[in-house]
């Protein structure tokens, strides 16, 4: 017996594909939107925190930022997600799964971004800031036009990698019932007693993430050729 047709029939059944694709693809749209919001907010907050850490002379502020970053880097994302989603209702704060996913993943991303933008800033010579200030630029103008463009360029490969990790982590939302790609595929898969929706969800995730992976390859290639 030839195994190939039965494999395709099981894992990529056209009938079931036709029935479940709309559900899975609809949740794919939601996942992309949420992923986009998380990336924008996470990167924005991360850059803000790194800039604040560079600006401040107060030890307490630095310690708070480093503590925030360390805690969020040490906790597994799923643990944070479950703690936020299942523990908050005990004090009568009910939080919806989408919001919980958004908050947790944005916070985690901001911590990683803070770390790599901060190392980008630290890798720059102090002279860059001084040169800009000596021409009369304000601190924030110098930051915007001179320090951050260079620091972000240095950090770009790491930022790309964290974006990849973040989009992958949206799949964790399914555990608390956020109806993203994996969650809806699992439901459809058990409804139809067939793994085709799961295959589809895997393909959807790969299609979402592969561009970032290829972009990071391009970056690596570009710096490697210098």
């Amino acid at each position: 017996m030839d195994a190939t047709p039965s494999l395709i029939h099981t894992f990529f059944n056209p009938d079931i594909l036709a029935k479940t694709a709309p559900i899975v693809l609809a949740s794919a749209g939601q996942t992309v939107l949420l992923g986009f919001l998380i990336i924008v907010c996470g990167i924005g907050l991360g850059i803000l925190l790194a800039s604040l850490r560079y600006y401040t002379r107060r030890r307490t502020v630095t310690a708070l930022i480093v503590g925030y970053v360390d805690v969020l880097r040490a906790l597994p994302p799923l643990v944070l997600l479950i703690v936020v989603y299942f523990a908050l209702p005990y004090v009568n704060v009910s939080i919806d799964a989408t919001l919980a996913t958004f908050l947790c993943l944005s916070a985690i991303l901001s911590a990683f971004i803070e770390e790599c933008v901060w190392s980008g800033i630290a890798a720059l010579a102090q002279g860059q800031m001084e040169a800009a200030r000596s021409t009369g630029m304000t601190w924030s103008a110098a930051m915007r036009h001179v320090v951050l463009p260079q620091a972000l360029k240095i950090a770009l490969p790491q930022i790309t990698n964290r974006c990849i990790a973040t989009i992958k982590n949206t799949a964790l939302g399914s555990v608390i019932g956020f109806n993203e790609v994996l969650g809806s595929a699992q439901a459809a898969s058990s409804d139809f007693a067939n793994p085709t929706p799961l295959t589809l969800s895997a393909l959807v995730y790969i299609a979402m993430i592969l561009p970032f992976v290829l972009f990071s390859r391009y970056l690596e290639h570009r710096t490697g050729s210098h």
Partner: protein, 248 residues
Amino acid sequence: MQKRIILEAVGIRKDYGALQVLKGVDFRVREGELVSIIGPSGSGKSSMLRCCNLLERPTAGQIVFDGIDITREGVNINHVRQNIGMVFQQFNLYPHLTVLGNVTLALRCVKKLSRAEASEIGMAALAQVDMAGKRDAYPNQLSGGQKQRVGIARAVALHPQIILFDEPTSALDPELVSSVLGVMRKLREAGMTMLVVTHEMGFAKEVSDRVIFMDGGVVAANDTPERIFAAQDNERMQSFLSRFLNEK
């Protein structure tokens, strides 16, 4: 009749914790003058220069620029700095911008000039340092001497009333020094007021109107180059100068 005073340091002191780097420094720079600051390393020359545009805040004393005490609270230092140019030992060019981009950044985001206006002024400044041909190059494509000339153009483009030079040739290979000193000579002839921390004794002797010799955080001598370089009265200055002049 004496020209007006552009920059005046009054009793400048600077402490880093327990370490006293400047112990009360006074001097004046008049319009059109080129004043050199020389002295052994660790004498506080660079700290003094960096106090002049408040990259370092003096612990005590005043910097009076164009008749205004800029060390007072409430002075808009960013506004003042547009009129005090600075050239750095390590150039500190912005590696992510072209030569012209380096020169025009402050024109555009501090003086709010349009791209065209800023380019025109930037090109004029680059022409003054013979770097107009490299307007689209990036800093890492330039030699040290070329980088420093762009650094000078960045300061010149803002049309400051004075330019501070912090050992502008110390990071250069010997064969590249003369091109930078040449540009500085030209600036002087054009009437620019300059305050130069330097180890180039030949330059200090030939081009300066006045030389300030700093030692141990104070001004040990402040006089014309002829008198400084013929000085008999300060033993430490003599030993310092003879070491440098013998090297030549």
